[in-house]
């Protein structure tokens, strides 16, 4: 069963008087529960592809269906709700709300949903903090955590709502190799435990071993070679 279906996706950016064709026509189907890596050199369009899948950016042309919803036709409020309920994000650098503790950051999306009791939210967040190995740092603010610890918190937050998909844009780019490996191990483990679809982008070929599926992008198109 496909959790994501992309048909003839094109994305253009206006750069002054020039139009940049970031994605030139991608067709892609991603199965539920997979751990996929999107690789490609810088500027190949992988971040743009993740942004469109994650309802962060709009498609110029084509259709994108996420969890059964054709997202290119939705309004801002509906798009936001899809991000809240169906998608988890792990960003490269900007990660956490600085004024909230690690635990509160994980609780944040659940509190936005407003369906769970305060106790349920707390239990779910603590469980995930335990799974990412940060049970001892629940009350620490982001500024008091290392880069790797912040990414762990971001992973826990991305998973806390039980989303269909977790998108991670170069999650190890700013981490040292050891910490980066730990993060990818963790994502793999969480993919196994939570049965969540993980899609991460990277330009580091060394991380390919963590993915079950790899999509290579070059110049805004899928490189079938």
């Amino acid at each position: 069963m496909n959790i994501i279906e992309i048909k003839n996706l094109k994305k253009d950016y206006a750069l002054g008087k020039t139009t940049v064709h970031a994605i030139r026509g991608i067709d892609l189907a991603i199965e539920k529960g997979t751990l996929m890596s999107i690789i490609g050199p810088s500027g190949s369009g992988k971040t743009t592809l993740l942004n469109v899948i994650g309802c962060i950016d709009n498609a110029t042309e084509g259709s994108v269906t996420v969890g059964g919803s054709e997202i290119t036709k939705l309004r801002d409020r509906q798009i936001t709700d899809i991000r809240l309920h169906k998608i988890g994000f792990i960003f490269q650098t900007f990660n956490l709300i600085p004024v909230l503790s690690a635990l509160e950051n994980v609780e944040f999306p659940l509190l936005l949903i407003k369906k769970h009791s305060r106790l349920e939210v707390r239990k779910r967040a603590e469980k995930l903090m335990d799974e990412v190995g940060l049970l001892s740092l629940l009350k620490n603010k982001p500024a008091e955590l290392s880069g790797g610890q912040r990414q762990r918190v971001a992973i826990a937050r991305a998973l806390v709502t039980n989303p269909d998909i977790v998108l991670a844009d170069e999650p190890t780019a700013n981490l040292d190799s050891v910490t980066g490996s730990q993060i990818l191990d963790l994502m793999k483990e969480m993919n196994r435990i939570e049965q969540t679809t993980f899609i991460f982008s990277t330009h580091d070929h060394n991380v390919l071993k963590y993915a079950r599926e790899v999509v290579k992008i070059k110049d805004g198109l899928i490189d079938n070679n």
Binding site: I56, D81, R83, F91, Q92, F94, P98, V99, L112
Partner: protein
């Protein structure tokens, strides 16, 4: 909401510098506004108390024919219309349980004739029964020269303000009969003329009648008086006994109704003799008319100067004559507007041809001065807040842009625009509540301190600003509500643009910025 407030509060703490700038502006604005409102409220109350309890009462009855409500201070306006039926009005007023005291008075303009041949002056006359006046406004005027008139005594009480003004016009220094000159009371101009100072102990008033004739009367000055508060305004009015006033203005005097008519004059009325010379052969026209016992229309001509001492001071009912105004003092705590409306209804029901107006209307500009100053202060405070709003908008907008990554991330993980709006509103509302609230509290404390210090003044202009002789600012519930409304408005207006800026931040903006 708990989450939003938590984030808002922590953001305030995180961005202490900006929070303090915004907070300081809100604090100062609220402080100035509270003190200003307190001063104006105190002035409002002081003016009300000093004018109502010294001069006008709460409600003033005027004739239905009276065009302008500004009956006391319309300097160049028409004469105040007469009220000839006070005896019918009086029982109606007595039936109203909210009425404390009543005083009918005459009020109009007269010319102060210059017996030295120079320029004449003008005087606003208040014709009254002195004993009643003292009962209505006990202890509100004090004689600084001479004395207060004895019951039934004819004469004038000249306030210091009026005397100074008379001197400016006539170069005559008026002083009470039987008193000596008080050099320390002389104006600067009078002191200069000290050696050749023209002093008079009586005043000749020329009243204008409604048929373009005039009546002159000479009145002895019994005392020079000073109002205990607001002497600058109230001291323009010369108090004269009601019968002299009526004679001067050509109104019916009460004595006219009770004068004895001689048999000869009686015969004259019944005469069918067409020879008019018989009618005008011996006595002056006015005297004849007054002895006739016939009622003449109000403000009819009576064109012979009449010394006050010649006016009968026998046992008469002064309410038989003409008045211009009826001053009504309400019982403490009564609602002015409500009671004015009720009184108007009662008067209309009886078809008494008079209407009730509030003292504020009767005093024209002075009555509405507190409201005007309050409005001016409100505009000033709003200007202050406008500047504050600009600074707050700028600071918050910068803060929103600086937090693009944070806001973009919140949006990325599912926060709606409404959440971002509420978060910003929450931050500004907290600042308003904390700093604005502190400003209001500090303003209230400052007002309490002023109240305790009990500043007093004898300066007329300062008294006007104080609303009396004591500076007694007052903070009312209404002022506090107004302050809160203004703060809320400022908060809402100041947050609109920053919220728009924050709402427009997308997750993509955050990524692009990174």
């Amino acid at each position: 909401m708990g989450l939003i407030l938590k984030i808002a509060w922590r953001n305030i703490q995180r961005h202490r510098g900006k929070s303090l700038i915004i907070g300081a502006i809100l604090f100062l604005g609220a402080l100035i506004m509270t003190i200003g409102n307190g001063v104006i409220s105190g002035m409002d109350k002081g003016l009300a108390a000093n004018i109502v309890h010294s001069f006008t009462g709460d409600i003033v009855l005027v004739s239905d024919k009276q065009e302008s409500d500004n009956v006391f201070l319309e300097f160049m306006g028409k004469a105040v219309e007469p009220i000839n039926n006070f005896k019918a009005i009086k029982p109606i007023l007595e039936q109203q349980d909210y009425v404390e005291r009543v005083l009918p008075v005459g009020k109009n303009l007269a010319m102060v004739l210059n017996e030295d041949g120079g320029t004449p002056g003008n005087a606003f006359l208040i014709g009254t029964d002195f004993k009643r006046y003292n009962t209505m406004f006990p202890g509100r005027i004090e004689a600084i020269e001479g004395r207060m008139p004895k019951p039934g005594e004819k004469g004038a009480l000249v306030p210091t303000g009026a005397r100074d003004e008379f001197y400016d016009f006539t170069n005559i220094w008026f002083m009470p009969e039987g008193d000596t000159l008080h050099p320390d009371h002389l104006t600067a101009a009078a002191k200069k003329d000290r050696t050749a100072l023209s002093m008079k102990t009586s005043v000749v008033l020329m009243g204008f009648n409604n048929d373009n004739t005039t009546t002159d009367i000479r009145l002895p000055i019994r005392g020079v008086v000073r109002y205990k508060a607001l002497n600058k305004i109230l001291g323009r009015f010369v108090l004269v006994d009601i019968e002299s006033y009526r004679n001067c203005l050509g109104y019916f005097a009460a004595a006219e109704k009770t004068s004895a008519v001689s048999a000869a004059d009686s015969a004259l009325f019944s005469s069918n003799d067409e020879n008019l010379d018989n009618m005008f052969s011996e006595k002056g026209l006015v005297v004849d008319n007054r002895q006739s016992g016939q009622k003449r229309p109000a403000r009819q001509s009576g064109a012979v100067p009449t010394p006050a001492s010649e006016v009968s001071s026998g046992s008469i009912d002064v309410d038989d004559g003409t008045y211009n105004l009826v001053l009504v003092l309400l019982k403490p705590g009564e609602s002015l507007d409500k009671r004015t409306a009720e009184l108007n209804k009662a008067l209309a029901d009886k078809k008494l041809d008079v209407r009730a107006i509030t003292w504020k209307k009767a005093m024209g500009m002075i009555g509405s001065m507190a409201s005007l100053i309050k409005a001016a202060l409100f505009v000033f405070v709003m200007l202050l807040f406008f500047v504050a709003i600009i600074i707050i908008v700028n600071t918050l907008s910068m803060a929103a842009l600086e937090r693009t990554a944070e806001i973009g991330m919140m949006r990325a993980v599912g926060a709606r625009k409404g959440f971002i709006s509420t978060m910003f509103l929450g931050e500004t509302a907290m600042l308003s509540a904390v700093f604005g609230g502190a400003g209001i509290a500090a303003g209230t404390i400052v007002i309490k301190i002023f109240q305790a210090l009990h500043f007093t003044t004898t300066n007329d202009i300062v008294q006007l600003l104080y609303g009396g002789d004591t500076f007694c600012p007052l903070i009312t519930g209404g002022d506090l509500v107004l302050a809160l409304v203004q703060l809320t408005l400022v908060t809402l207006i100041a947050v609109i643009y920053p919220v728009q800026v924050a709402r427009s931040i997308t997750p993509l903006d955050a990524i692009s910025r990174e």
